[in-house]
Symmetry: none
Subunit: 227 residues, 2 copies
DNA sequence: CTCCATATCAACATCATGTTAACTGAACAA
DNA sequence: TTGTTCAGTTAACATGATGTTGATATGGAG
């Protein structure tokens, strides 16, 4: 197994508390951790250390995370770096802009260590595999989380956010039945309470756009993606 | 699907009202609930019952939640347990200390039942995910709980929920005779009251779909799975 | 043979999901 | 501003699979 100590992680956040918290948890796992309190500092450190992963707070005084991300992407040799945003849950659409700016992932605050660590592992694993694309191929579909696009027979299908995330979730484990509870948790979040029919309607829209053959209902249990 | 009754939850809070409130809501969902009014009691009960999830109030007289958490983490065999904090403080970063103590999540008071339940489900799901074997092979059958499918000679057989759960139960211990009572409890749950014939009919449907050779009737006792 | 648990079947009830259309609010353009 | 479009959600209702029941048949143990 790859040792975590081979990985450098740069944290950029204006809150010392959070930096310390994240730093503590990541170091505990054996990562080499660098921190920066401002966007400027972050860029400087990044250029110097060439980290494998950058965790960026979106909201910072001065240069914000989005801008840091764009600047980092412009640095030669920095294109392979994985960049993830830290965002408050309320900033609902921030990650979309984030993806456009070149982010690989976004992580909601408040941050839970287990979630953080598993996300980071996943991100690093992905980046480690060389130039593997962020797209997933499942049967006739290609789901590209980076561009938020789905391709079917070469045709580009653009999906709204919720639909995309729902599809994305289901396709993340083809064959697995996702319970409605689980879907609500993962796509809508803990606190959001939406009606029973909301999922169905989204499923229906997906089926309309993609065809009937991909999403299968398992009555009384949930939905699953098939290929 | 897995019944909630398989999950033990320990609540530790010095306020009887809150304990009762939480206990009521969790029991209603079918969890096995244990309560403790102090940190000491919590640790004692935890060691004895080995719950799957511990909900800890942070602020308690005597040993506080943080300390309980640390002590629990030190108990052998307790490392897989999910520990979540209940905290009144919302926006500050007091939970950071909690995470350092080994907590998996924190839940803000005031607690809304819906949020609590969905968080708990998510936590238990995550904890169970690691070592869960998804498919079971029994003789000519393969039962895949993840995709809710049964395979026989490579052919895919799709079963309705109750039938699948019934088969799943019987096949979980091939050879063992399950009494009708036991079947009712595990598949239908405690609260549901259904007539005598219901089980027979489901057995019949299973035999229709799978063949006669798998489920054997033990008159006066129950049913068992054979292979 | 007789008794009683189980089997079987068809009628019935129920519940999860499908479907449609309408409503809200955000983003955007004229 | 107003109007327009779209994502997301919801209510109301339709539909059909699924679950349940009771009447009746069957079959094995004693």
């Amino acid at each position: 197994m790859m040792n975590n100590s081979e990985h450098k992680i740069l944290l950029v956040d204006d809150e010392p508390d959070i930096l310390e918290f994240l730093s503590y948890n990541l170091k505990k796992e054996g990562y080499q951790v660098y921190t920066a309190l401002t966007g400027e500092e972050g860029i400087t450190v990044a250029k110097k250390e060439m980290p494998n992963l950058v965790l960026l707070d979106v909201m910072m005084p001065g240069i914000d995370g989005m801008e840091v991300c764009r600047e980092l992407r412009a640095v030669p040799g920095m294109d392979g770096v994985v960049i993830a945003f830290l965002t408050a849950r309320s900033e609902d659409y921030s990650h979309i802009a984030g993806f456009e700016a070149g982010a690989d992932d976004y992580i909601n605050k408040p941050i839970k260590p287990r979630v953080l660590l598993s996300r980071i592992k996943a991100l690093l694993r992905r980046s480690g595999n060389g130039n593997e694309s962020t797209a997933v191929d499942v049967g006739k579909l290609r789901i590209d989380r980076e561009s938020y696009l789905v391709f079917k027979d070469g045709a580009e299908i653009s999906l709204p956010r919720k639909e995309f995330e729902l599809l994305s979730l289901l396709a993340s484990k083809p064959g697995k039945v996702f319970a409605r509870d689980e879907i609500l948790n993962k796509v809508w979040g803990d606190e959001v309470v939406v009606g029973d029919r909301t999922i169905d309607v989204h499923i229906r829209k997906l089926r309309e756009k993609l065809g009937e053959e991909f999403i299968r209902t398992v009555k009384g249990v949930g939905y699953k993606f098939e290929f």
